[in-house]
Subunit: 311 residues, 2 copies
């Protein structure tokens, strides 16, 4: 639970913490969203299991996932690299080919950055800037009783992919790729926003599942103040994972993290307009108040923030 503790300390310490608390900050005067994510070697990636080309793409895409969760249109990134002495020119070139690939794919530009040394481990920090294009407020506290809880794809793939990478077994490429190169759900985000706009809905509870589906369910539920009733049997999980990890797949789906799907809640009438293949219903927002004794909360206390505990 260190992350939440730390965030509380940060909010209390700053004179103005009004812009904190979402995946992106919204700069109202400029109609821009800004987000920053850092990937640290040994925590978020391992140079034995990723190529620099894949790493470059992942480093960009995880930031674009935050912009997708803001219904924003990505425009620019800045890239800051802290390089230990073992990194060479080939690495830099392949890493930036990966950056370039994602920039082409999503129509964005590298606006700047920073190159410095690092004592031991490679650290990549990317800042992404996107434009607000829809007149819809996004936050984590807009879920209402009766809303349908929706996600955009299967969960647990990335955790399974990571596990398989380090084992000498048959590795379905799909799972490995889901871990090495996550794709931001920008298309789904745009489709959703267009439908909301059509029905004049101006508020949306949404975030990405970068820290786990369970983490996202917990946070939207806690921020909105209502219990989320999850149909655990309906969670989208790949067949391969069920087969390869029959005892762990439910845990992987909820708490594995790094799937970079979206989680949001919408009224039933909006959900009915969405393509059921791309947007998967996993439960409903109940009218019971969020309680510290519900299942997700108890599991959350146990599992989350692996990053900190393991570091």
């Amino acid at each position: 639970m260190k992350e939440l503790q730390y965030l509380e300390i940060i909010s209390k310490t700053l004179d103005d913490s009004s812009l904190l608390g979402n995946d992106c900050a919204f700069l109202q005067d400029f109609n821009l969203f800004i987000t920053q994510d850092t990937l640290a070697e040994g925590v978020h990636f391992n140079l034995n299991t990723t190529t620099p080309y894949q790493l470059g793409q992942k480093a960009v895409n995880v930031n674009l996932s935050d912009l997708a969760a803001a219904l924003a249109k990505p425009l620019y990134i800045t890239v800051s690299l802290s390089l230990p002495s073992g990194i060479d020119s080939n690495f830099i070139q392949d890493f930036y080919k990966g950056i370039n690939k994602s920039c082409e794919q999503y129509g964005i530009t590298v606006a700047g950055g920073d190159l410095t040394g690092a004592e031991k481990k490679l650290v990549i920090s990317i800042c992404a800037i996107g434009k607000k294009v829809f007149d819809i407020d996004v936050s984590r506290h807009f879920s209402k009783p009766g809303d349908v809880i929706v996600t955009t794809g299967s969960h647990g793939d990335s955790a399974a992919g990571l596990k398989l990478l380090t084992q000498d077994v048959y590795k379905p490429e799909y799972l490995i790729n889901r871990h090495l190169i996550p794709y931001p759900r920008l298309l789904q985000s745009t489709i959703l926003a267009q439908i909301l706009q059509k029905y004049d809905i101006k508020q949306l509870s949404i975030m990405d599942t970068s820290d786990g589906l369970g983490d996202a369910v917990f946070k939207l539920s806690k921020c909105s103040g209502f219990e989320f009733e999850i149909d655990y049997d309906s969670l989208p999980v790949s067949d391969d994972i069920k087969r390869l990890f029959p005892f762990e797949y439910k845990d992987m789906a909820l708490w594995g993290g790094e799937d970079f799907e979206l989680l949001f809640t919408v009224p039933e009438k909006i959900y009915n307009k969405l393509d059921k293949d791309k947007f998967i219903r996993i439960g409903n927002v109940s009218d019971k108040p969020f309680s510290e004794t519900n299942k997700i909360y108890l599991e959350y206390k146990d599992k989350v923030f692996k990053h900190f505990e393991e570091a």
Copy 2:
């Protein structure tokens, strides 16, 4: 010379590298400057010699120095921390008190950020956003023959402060503070911009001296294509350094780095309008073309990028 090699590789690899090459990127559509700087433990700071409160201020201020070099007005920062397991709540609180102190001092807001784990070492990456308020293009290639070369303060203080920190000797507090909490030259930047505006000058060669005064002289000279004639005896160096480091102070002043002053060139008539206490003349731009055999270039090859070599 690895930094320059890497920057060349990056420029060549990206389809669009048009926004790279200055301290800040300018996002024309939004009239905003953006910059990102990373501080890595063991390279840019050492937790034995800085308090978290000082470190928080330094991490913000080095970014604001880039905005000062863009004549921009700072507005927002995002803060990304990669925390190894040794860091505790007190550290976080004191670090953010430092962040808050700089935010108050310069009227900016923390707009977001990211907390993750790190395997070994603390890494801080801050992204700063500022508004363009003057109709003046800033870059590194606008220096013209006859321009006066100007800097905003003494050099070598930070390097001397760092050296003294690790020695059991008398430590002038001023030098230590110059290393631990550099101040961005935002006031000087505004004064300069107002004078340029008054005389309808629309282009300025400028950068900060974060990587050393010699580095800044080299870069403005190379980018502009003219040799910079530096009056080495006129370099502003604190008396304390001359006394404490009689054999090294010249080297510290040129190549020590982290002084976070500004270096720029302006026509003589503009220089005459500036307060000579705040703006120190250190030479003139000559009409000789920049040559790979000049003194600064040869020293540059030797000295710069200590960050990389030592990492």
